[in-house]
Symmetry: C2
Subunit: 377 residues, 2 copies
Amino acid sequence: MKQIYEEVARRTAAGEPVATVTIIRTRGSTPREVGTKMLVTPTALIGTVGGGCGEGEARKAALDSIADGAVRIVKADLTEEISYDSRGVCGGIMEMLVEPWRDAVAARRIVEALEVGGRVAVATVVQRAGDQLTTRHLVVPATGEVTAETNDNRTDPRLVARVRAVLAEGKTRTVSVDVDGESVPGAEPGADVVVEVQVPAPELVICGAGHIAVPLAAVGKLLGFRVVVIDDRAEYANAGRFPEADEVIADDFREALKRQDLGPDSYAVLVTRGHSYDVDCLLEIVDRPLAYIGMIGSKRRVWAVYKLLHHFGVTVEQLRRIHAPIGIDIGAETPAEIAIAVAAEIIKARNGGSAASLSDAVRDRYAALIERGAELG
Amino acid sequence: MKQIYEEVARRTAAGEPVATVTIIRTRGSTPREVGTKMLVTPTALIGTVGGGCGEGEARKAALDSIADGAVRIVKADLTEEISYDSRGVCGGIMEMLVEPWRDAVAARRIVEALEVGGRVAVATVVQRAGDQLTTRHLVVPATGEVTAETNDNRTDPRLVARVRAVLAEGKTRTVSVDVDGESVPGAEPGADVVVEVQVPAPELVICGAGHIAVPLAAVGKLLGFRVVVIDDRAEYANAGRFPEADEVIADDFREALKRQDLGPDSYAVLVTRGHSYDVDCLLEIVDRPLAYIGMIGSKRRVWAVYKLLHHFGVTVEQLRRIHAPIGIDIGAETPAEIAIAVAAEIIKARNGGSAASLSDAVRDRYAALIERGAELG
């Protein structure tokens, strides 16, 4: 979305009238998802809301909005009879918000807020007054001050709370909010709020630069992660071995991890060359708010690590966070296969899904054994 | 293994005495698996059977075998107490076969057979006569003639059948075979047979060159597949868009698939731009002996394809082969995530595993609906 808002700011500043088209609701299998944005000018299209599927209607409405300054909602029904002769490219029903932009200031403010980075939402509040639609924009960071488009204090706390809830979920969607009608002259109560979410690129921290780290770094990059590789052996941890990695750190595991800012968008994978390195890493990260911690190893090695960690004061509840043995259960054997099993487990941790992880089968048992004080066998 | 046999042939031809070390049995989590091979000369080591773990012993035994010409089996116990101070690099118990090589002919024959390609096994028959071990080598292709090291017809049909069974499984392992003792003068009955399997690179055929095909081709290559991409649109199906692919075909889907030699090492993924292209592809491949057929699509699209295929005479049993919707259930949304979900499903199809596929939830229902003659809804 940032690119589209940048184009809006740039073109309106240059006096060019533009309109944006944003998918705000879908039903069925539409080609693009909610939040997909396109910019329309009398002579250009930037971005796409679905190619041949509904885009023509959207463009026409956008040109109308450029001409008359009105906000519109366009509904495109892309369902068609599925037969062998229909080529079946489109499907579903989608609603698109069409907004004309004349003033460069509003878009500029949004762009500046997005450039700060971090988790931030752009909330477009759509209200109805008679047969007119109005929109206004709020920029809502995860914490800190909300920027309203106009300095009119119309940042209803219920609205902000609702936007922050969507931001925490991390996925752009449209919600109905019970705001007062008075916030817009003549407006009906309630508003549709399109909450566009900017989430920072998630981070994959790979501890251990051996033969599994190599394909895993490549797959992590393919998935759009910022990839960090750590190993205490410089002959393994170097940029030549990990051309795709964003950062390769040759240092003691614990020291390197201490310096990493690990949070809810961080995913740590332990593929070190021995269990005591795993213990070192886990002592450093197990109580930090990462989204995911996975550790490779035979059941014997995993159990040894858990016992040692417990000995060092790590609680059973903390141990339960760890995905070990790592990966989903697909019989992975080669380094590349293991990298895929790990990547799939990370995607599942982000998005949800029912595919079984190897750790599912042992987590409860290990926890019970440790609680019973079983010895390292 | 081919590389090691090549080195044996090259060095023995040059008069250099060498020995090979092959892991023939493991217990527990050893660093390398059965079939891993290393070449030892008085001055060089090529390959590794596990780095610091047992390799020193193996090398010493190999040098002894070079000196005295005897075949040996070396057992390395790599288990150690796991404590925080042990660095825990090794583990498990492994047995290694140490064979001296003086004659270049035997190794040359093996190399030539491996170079033909296709599925082929190198069987090393280990027999005991008193306190002496002997080895001999057979080259066993999936079909066709067996090459024995010596032209002595000692290719016991039970032995060949057993080797072919391992070859069909596709994974190197050591089996005990009940051969006659007489095949080797003074030998005891029974032999350990190390069956080293060469399987051709599996093939991933991606039908449809859109936004999912791009990361999928990259992941397929990472997994060691030969990757073929097919689309009837040359602006999508071109080498610039698929730099990793082994073959990119811009042609009608059915025509292109007709020309492909698809067998038990072939995996087909349908990510075309519409259901009728899927129907075209499936009509061409659904009765061919591929290892895997997966098809992307909403449930509605999948159901439409199944009904159309059934209408064209495809049986319910054939439809049940298809993995659709494609991929394991990890909530994949972006093209790269979907590529990982598909790759994971393909690995599971090859190796086994319990991770749920999206198609698991609908296969029986679709089959039942079609058998009941349900209409396209």
